[in-house]
Amino acid sequence: MANRNFIALRTIWIKECTRFLRIWVQTLVPPAITMSLYFIIFGNLIGSRIGQMGGYSYMEFIVPGLIMMSVITNSYANVSSSFFSAKFQRNVEEMLVAPVPHWVLICGFVGGGVARALLIGIIVTCVSMLFVDVRIHNFWVLAITLLLTATLFATAGLINAVYAKTFDDISLIPTFVLTPLTYLGGVFYSLSLLPDFWQMVSKANPIVYMVNGFRYGFLGTSDVSYLVSIGLLVGFNALLFAVAYTLIHRGVGIRS
């Protein structure tokens, strides 16, 4: 039983990884290019005029945020498009007819999204090393924040795909919710630059906590405590997993 579930989980995970590796030009190259442009333009060209941010050079300051930004977009995009296309082409039925428990199905897809996000995280980190000396203040905080963020947005992508009826539906949330929250999530600036009111508003943005937790792992500096970040991440993960589980279990969008 346990062994069967493990084999099923590994199968889905490998299938997911094979998918994004097969179409690497669409999945791995674009974030590398975008992030290099950010590094060159914001980090190098504009950053040199900005000077210090939160006690660090602007380039050093934005590196963690940009890594986080690519992790968020890619974990989300991977699962939402993969699960939606599995639904659309109906090959998700291959898993639904088999005795694959719903948590295994979710973990398999989420695991695939996390794998892509981490791989891109590594690629972006390597790119950033061309521009700046990357220092790591606390590896564990960094790793845990990264992992939890990746699982969170991969699960969110899955939920999006469950509800989506057309390919447009899986780009709505990234465009109208994810991107604004990320740009306003302290990737490019320290919250302390904002007036009090906007600082308060920003603290309602969950991405602020992820970016800052991650930045703490790198630099040892943060607008919020990393413990709060990790706590929130754990909570949100549990919440979204429960939502995803309920949806899949009820067969929303996949069983008539």
Binding site: I7, V97, S256
Partner: protein
């Protein structure tokens, strides 16, 4: 042991279509069972529920004694499904598709690879194993779905129109293959629109129409209902006098064509005798349509008239 036991199965889709209005069906272990019915009768819905792709709205389904509601995992493990529509990933290779399918059932990868070779070879797809599935022809795709369904060596194979759009030669070879699988002990349930196929393969049969079972019998029992055969005769005649034929229901279609219903026991000699007495030559003769098809249509019609009471 019953491979499948369905009681009072109902399905109403969102939007209100009542696809199944309470059907009962049993299939014995080892059987080769045909589920027939016109388009929209509810065949795929029934199969969808058995394979847990469709949620039922009422009734009970047991697969080898495992209730779908209480022992889903055991029930699922018994079934291999060949759906009506292609539902594999278009860009995955054949090998990936079948090996992954085995993985979902918990079959270890080394065993899965051996089985992949076995079934892809048996279904004549081994040459194509590293091609993406979308490059296959329609008939090959059907066979791929059969190979995929067998990867966990299920006790029961369910095929929803497996030979739709498959040429005659390949269809024959699929029949041979399925017969062999059945001989090895796998229970097979199949839907088809080709009655010849059901006649060739199946021992028992159910006919479903508008969500109701209207006939559930053995193939032999069904064929026994076929008392009449209709023949179409092409005639060459010297006179213009009307054709007379006593003792047979017949229809004169035009000056040169005659349709005669002949009971099984009567034989054709009396027809020929009467015609030659009238100096009419029979140039050629053919069997009209598929007898089983006629029977099917009349059963469906009878069922519909009965249902309207």
């Amino acid at each position: 042991m019953k491979a499948l036991a369905i009681q009072g199965l109902q399905k109403t889709y969102k939007g209100g279509t009542q696809a199944l209005k309470g059907i009962d069906l049993t299939v014995e272990q080892g059987d080769f069972f045909a589920l027939l019915g016109p388009n929209g009768a509810g065949k795929s819905t029934t199969i969808g529920i058995i394979s847990s792709l469709v949620n039922k709205t009422g009734g009970k389904v047991e697969i080898f004694g495992h209730d779908l509601d209480t022992a889903l995992v055991d029930a699922k493990s018994c079934i291999g499904l060949v759906p009506q529509e292609f539902n594999f990933h278009q860009f995955e290779t054949l090998l990936q598709i079948v090996v992954n399918q085995a993985g979902y059932y918990g079959v270890p990868r080394t065993i899965a690879k051996q089985r992949a070779e076995k079934y892809l070879k048996q279904l004549d797809l081994w040459e194509k194993r590293n091609m993406p599935a979308r490059t296959l022809s329609g008939g090959m795709k059907r066979r791929l779905m059969i190979a995929r369904a067998l990867m966990h060596e299920p006790k029961m194979l369910i095929l929803d129109e497996p030979t739709a759009g498959v040429d005659i030669e390949i269809r024959r070879s699929m029949w041979t293959f399925l017969k062999e699988i059945n001989r090895q002990g796998v229970t097979i349930i199949l839907t088809t629109h080709y009655l010849e196929e059901a006649e060739m393969l199946c021992r028992n049969i159910a006919i479903i129409d508008k969500g109701r079972i209207i006939e559930n019998t053995t193939m032999k029992g069904l064929l026994a209902k076929l008392n009449n055969e209709t023949f179409v005769l092409d005639l060459k005649r010297e006179t213009e006098a009307p054709v007379t034929l006593t003792g047979f229901t017949h229809r004169v279609l035009d000056d040169h064509t005659l349709e005669v219903d002949v009971a099984k026991d009567d034989g054709l000699n009396p027809v020929f005798d009467q015609l030659s007495a009238q100096k009419i030559q029979v140039l050629s003769m053919r069997n009209k349509a598929n007898r089983l098809e006629e029977l099917f249509v009349s059963l469906v019609e009878a069922g519909r008239n009965g249902g309207e009471k």
